[in-house]
């Protein structure tokens, strides 16, 4: 009996509870809040999971070139500790120059990855550092989406914020740099960039020291992560200038800028790679000048409130003359004495897109430094490409401190993205924000007609409202489809493992790169020095663990030119160069068999150009036939005899790939090779990967009886 009573009591209690749940109603605000949390949570997962294509299709590998260096240095950081990392002198790259890695990198990425790794290990989750590195960029993409939400909320409203977050989560322009395995600076830098801007807007809006300091810290993180921080330190002064000109000077702005500039500069100088640049280099001078101008402006404003207008005019004239004279003299002196360094090549390339092509072949040779085509704008941003102008319109309609900032950010980044392909990355997030503003503003205004409230007598019939809302929704759906397709097809290939479709539809995997590098690791002496074009330097260092002459950190143009000269010379002339550089192995990438187009023969003209920039005897025209780059029997003698040609096509004439084609038919250039029966004197073939992608040659010692070799 007693037991039955208890059961009844429990049942009664349960009924009450369930009644309470059924009857429970959120207030509208709480409802919206929960919904927002849910949406943001989904966006968080979406941003992460849409970047996992490459892991699912291939495996959990680091992609491309630069990420291999970052991965290798992260491993070093994890195993050797912070101080040894900062003092790391790497004697296995840039033989024989070596590279002070600790002082020539932005360590933010490595620190972040190591921090995550150590945190997980402190929780006794033994996650391999490689997996941390592979998944760091997707995780940061999720965080970026959240920051984008808050930033848009700050600028516009939270509805636009949600849209912005989902836009950022899948926008291809950003996905391209943050898929799993793409362990590069940009992956975390975009997060830091948006965070800095968010905190900056907060600081300007509130004028509080707290937000300003937070902004300076975010800026510090950005400086530690990516060289693109220069964008921030130029955009913020520009913003301040615009605010001054448009008469929007306020003490809030004054507090925010003074704090951020002083603290941010001091903090940024703590990164050893940046060092004294913030007070010396031309790129940072705008910020410093703006700091001075702002102080002057503040003083003038204060003095004006204390003086009669007549006196003030005299005072102003004197002060301005004095300040201008002082600044001018200081600047000229600093310029002449070389205290302020001139602008770097990349910076010039930004201001004048044709500069690099005519002056610095090493910058021009990188495909991501080329000017952007319209197609890639659409490819990387899809509907955002035309939502951006609409968003600009809406921002102009509602001008305030925050929208002015977003406007400036958009306008400058549109310009930069037009100059260099890879700066689409900087444009993409702000395009998302401003596109979201456009979409959200449109939706909000037409939603009114769909569901007209009583007090609001609408001008438009319901159908138009439905039509516009439907069109925007359709656009958004297409955006989603496009982004997924681009992410899956274009941006998820690790480029270290290649995949191709066979005629019968089977997928064939070319794993030649890793096989070649592993061969080096297992079959060559520990200190063997490998000569290859600089593109493969990081990969050889990381995967083969062998000394390389040049790598993707292209800091010494002369040394690269020397390698380029060796490849451009005939075997006989290249041999003394290789001997003087103590080269033991030569590695070339050859795509003629598989049809892999970014191989060394296609990069060869750049080698010639870079070599020619240091040694005028090497002329590009010598390697072309009537201005045409070809490899068949009409190729120029210099081309046919060059070491690169010799090593790429050695024994290739003995191979017939297709029945209809002659032996030695190059699938990339679609031509039969012009030099057959190549024999080597000073080198010997050491390794050729199954699909001939990687070819490694051993440099022979000088002849025993012969002089000089």
């Amino acid at each position: 009996m007693k037991g039955g009573k208890q059961v009844d009591a429990v049942r009664k209690q349960l009924q009450e509870w369930s009644q309470a749940i059924v009857n429970f109603r959120f207030s509208a605000a709480k409802h919206a809040f929960l919904l927002k949390i849910l949406i943001l949570g989904l966006i968080y997962i979406l941003a992460f999971s849409s970047r996992l294509f490459s892991v699912l299709r291939f495996e959990s590998v680091i992609h491309e070139f630069d990420p291999y260096f970052n991965y290798r240095s992260t491993k070093y950081l994890v195993s050797n500790g912070l101080y040894n990392f900062l003092n790391w002198f790497d004697d296995t790259t840039w033989y024989p120059l070596g590279r002070i890695v600790g002082g020539t990198i932005y360590p933010g990425l490595m620190f972040t990855a190591a921090l995550v790794h150590n945190f997980l290990h402190a929780l006794h989750l033994p996650v391999d550092i490689r997996n941390v590195c592979v998944l760091l960029a997707p995780w940061f993409a999720s965080n970026t989406a959240m920051v984008a939400y808050f930033l848009t909320k700050e600028v516009w409203d939270d509805k636009a914020g949600l849209l912005a977050a989902v836009f950022v989560a899948i926008v291809p322009g950003y996905t391209s740099r943050s898929v799993a395995g793409s362990f590069d600076n940009e992956g975390i830098a975009i997060f830091a960039l948006l965070l800095t801007y968010l905190l900056w807007i907060k600081a300007v809006k509130t004028g509080s020291l707290w937000w300003s300091c937070a902004c300076a810290l975010a800026y510090f993180y950005m400086v530690s992560a990516w060289g693109g921080y220069v964008f921030i330190i130029n955009l913020i002064p520009l913003y301040v200038l615009v605010m001054l000109i448009s008469g929007r000077f306020s003490l809030r702005l004054y507090v925010a800028y003074s704090t951020v500039y002083v603290l941010g500069t001091l903090l940024s100088m703590q990164i050893s790679f940046v060092g004294f640049q913030p007070v010396q280099s031309s790129e940072h001078m705008a910020a410093m000048g703006m700091f001075g101008i702002l102080q002057l402006y503040a003083v003038i404003t204060w003095v004006r409130s204390k003086m009669s207008p007549d006196h003030f005019r005299i005072f102003l004239r004197g002060l301005l003359t004095l300040a201008a004279g002082l600044f001018g003299t200081l600047f000229v002196v600093a310029w002449i004495t070389g205290y302020i360094s001139p602008w770097t090549g990349r910076f010039y390339a930004l201001l004048d897109p044709t500069y690099a092509k005519s002056h610095i072949p090493i910058i021009a040779s990188v495909s991501e430094h080329q000017p952007t085509t319209w197609a890639s704008f659409f490819f990387d941003m899809h509907i955002l490409a035309f939502l951006v102008p609409a968003g600009l319109y809406f921002c102009f309609k509602r001008l305030n401190d925050a929208t002015i900032f977003i406007l400036l950010y958009t306008l400058t980044s549109v310009y930069f993205a037009g100059v260099m392909v890879r700066l689409i990355l900087v444009l993409a997030p702000v395009a998302c924000i401003i596109g979201a503003i456009a979409a959200s503003a449109t939706l909000t205004s037409y939603m009114r007609y769909v569901k007209p409230s009583n007090r609001d007598s609408s001008v438009f019939p319901k159908e138009i409202g439905w039509g516009v809302v439907g069109a925007v929704t359709l656009l958004l759906i297409f955006y989603g489809l496009h982004c997924t397709w681009v992410t899956a097809e274009a941006y998820s290939s690790p480029s270290i493992v290649l995949a191709a479709q066979q005629q019968n539809g089977n997928r064939i995997i070319f794993d030649d790169f890793r096989e070649g590098y592993r061969w080096l690791a297992h079959n060559t002496p520990q200190h063997a020095r490998v000569m290859s074009w600089w593109d493969y330097g990081y990969q050889i260092s990381a995967m083969a663990n062998r000394t390389v002459l040049v790598d993707n950190n292209t800091w010494n143009n002369t040394h690269i030119a020397q390698v380029g000269k060796a490849f451009a010379s005939s075997e006989e002339n290249a041999y003394p160069i290789m001997l003087s550089l103590d080269v033991d192995y030569v590695l070339v990438i050859f795509g003629g068999l598989t049809g892999y187009a970014s191989d060394d023969i296609n990069k060869f003209l750049w080698m010639v150009r870079i070599a020619g920039s240091c040694d005028p005897k090497i002329k590009e025209a010598d390697y072309e036939t009537l201005g045409e780059y070809r490899i068949d029997d009409k190729a120029s003698p210099a081309m046919l005899n060059s070491l690169m040609y010799t090593l790429s096509y050695y024994k290739f004439d003995q191979l017939q790939i297709e029945e209809a084609k002659p032996a030695g038919f190059d699938r990339v250039r679609n031509a039969e090779i012009g030099r057959k029966g190549i024999s080597l004197t000073y080198l010997e073939e050491a390794f050729t990967s199954p699909h001939w992608l990687v070819r490694i040659y051993r440099v022979l010692k000088p002849g025993n009886r012969a002089w000089p070799y």
Binding site: N80, Y83, N84, L86, N87, F89, D91, Y95, P96, L97, G98, I100, G103, S272, Q526, H527, S580, D582, P702, G703, N704, R705, A706, W707, P708
Partner: protein, 451 residues
């Protein structure tokens, strides 16, 4: 008598065979030299020379080119050295040009001598592979109408082809000059890029009045651009194998050993230097003299910034810091053929080069009982430096040492902490601190509203 004779012969044969066996067993410990001569008879005419080889401690085996045992068999070296006196054989049997060249590349020594009768393609191939060019015509001989020697009755030769020649380079251990030698043979020269090769030494050349011409047909001299024809070249390969290429085989013969050349009195009375030259060549070529080796290279840091304990990495090169004071030491030894052991030797011309792309430091090592040392301060440049010794002196073994050291820049805590040029900044920061304190005091303890 006949029977007794037979018995004696038998006993003699037994004894002889025992002696031969003894001799052979004794001989197996000696280094062996293969001598390839055109025939037994011709070999006899080199008895003086071959005796010298034997006296130098070698077991010699004379054979014809076609019968010669292989130089290496199943990977074993059957012989240590080779003397090729037959230049006319095509060397198609077990000893071939390829086997001779790989014999050299395996570190063995060879004396090649061209006969005045001409030479085969095989012979000129070997010479060419050693960087020496024989005349294109195998019948070219060196003529000298001024310094020719009178022909002995036993030799039927062209006039003015038996000439007097001089020894131009002394190979160690020869200290005193060798008198002129009697010579009959062709001219040879270094070819192509090897003309400036430090691997080759010109041992003998003819006098200024000589020229090279075809002995059979026209006597038109080959243009030699006023340079006296070269007669003998010594090659010391990179692996220290030593090779002599002589334009004449006859100069080693007994007949030439006995000849006279022009003495100080202007008469042909002084004994020719052929014997002394041969002795010098045997000693040098068979690695009795001028053999050096270098070992125990030590690179120690003896001054510079204080190092921290670095993470141990055995694979990496020794790591130094810029401006470190380094002591480099190396032991040099010379082979003493009499004592049959390596003895320390002092060389005052061994140079050390500290190189990274370009040489940064070049200094001479100070010898001390075989240990050669140098101290130097590393340059203020980081990178992978090569400490390089490249010791090439004619007649002596090449000595090469390449040691890579990593020179790193200062660590962040190895810089000087307080520098005088930063004094304004120190002063400024303390001023700032003082100013803030002062300002705070004034701000806190004065009341602007009092007035």
């Amino acid at each position: 008598m006949r029977r007794v004779g037979a018995v004696v012969v038998c006993i003699a044969a037994v004894i002889a065979s025992v002696v031969v066996a003894e001799a052979q067993s004794a001989a197996t410990n000696k280094p062996r030299v293969l001598v390839i001569a055109p025939s037994e008879v011709e070999a006899q005419s080199y008895s003086g020379f071959l005796n010298m080889v034997q006296e130098a401690g070698y077991d010699i085996r004379v054979s014809k080119a076609d019968d010669a045992a292989p130089l290496t068999l199943y990977g074993w070296d059957e012989f240590d050295n080779l003397i090729l006196l037959d230049s006319q054989s095509e060397l198609t049997a077990k000893v071939t040009p390829d086997s001779i060249l790989s014999f050299i590349d395996a570190g063995h020594n060879v004396i090649l001598a061209a006969s005045s009768q001409g030479w085969s393609d095989a012979f000129s191939t070997i010479a060419a592979e050693c960087g020496v060019k024989l005349s294109e015509n195998p019948h070219d001989l060196v003529f000298d109408h001024v310094h020719s020697l009178p022909l002995p009755a036993s030799l039927q030769l062209d006039t003015h082809t038996l000439i007097e020649a001089k020894v131009t380079a002394l190979l160690p251990p020869m200290q005193k000059a060798i008198p002129n030698i009697a010579y009959r043979g062709t001219c040879i020269d270094l070819e192509g890029k090897t003309t400036t090769s430090p691997l080759h030494t010109r041992v003998a050349s003819s006098l200024a009045t000589a020229y090279c011409a075809d002995a059979h047909h026209s006597r038109a001299p080959i243009a030699t651009a006023n340079i006296a024809p070269q007669l003998m070249v010594a090659l010391q390969a990179r692996n220290n194998a030593r090779v002599i290429i002589s334009g004449s085989a006859e100069l080693f013969s007994d007949a030439f050993f006995a000849m006279n050349v022009t003495g100080e009195d202007g008469l042909i009375s002084q004994p020719a230097g052929n014997k002394e030259l041969s002795s010098m060549l045997i000693d040098w070529t068979f690695q009795h003299t001028g053999v050096l080796r270098m070992n125990n290279v030590q690179i120690k840091k003896i001054g510079g910034v204080k190092d921290e304990e670095l993470p141990a990495n055995e694979d990496s090169d020794p790591m130094f810091t810029i401006k470190d004071v380094i002591e480099y030491s190396v032991d040099i030894q010379e082979w003493d053929n009499i004592q049959q052991q390596w003895v320390p030797t002092d060389r005052d011309d061994v140079q050390l080069e500290v190189t990274m792309l370009n040489p940064y430091i070049r200094l001479t090592l100070k010898p001390d009982h075989g240990t050669h040392k140098a101290q130097f301060t590393l340059p203020d440049v980081y990178g992978l430096f090569t400490l390089k010794i490249d010791y090439r002196r004619p007649g002596y073994s090449w000595m090469e040492a390449n040691d890579h050291i990593s020179v790193r820049p200062f660590r962040h805590n190895q810089y000087e902490r307080f520098i005088s040029s930063a004094n304004p900044f120190y002063f400024a920061s303390f001023c700032m601190i003082g100013g803030v304190v002062l300002f705070s005091l004034i701000f806190l303890f004065t009341n602007p509203h009092k007035q």
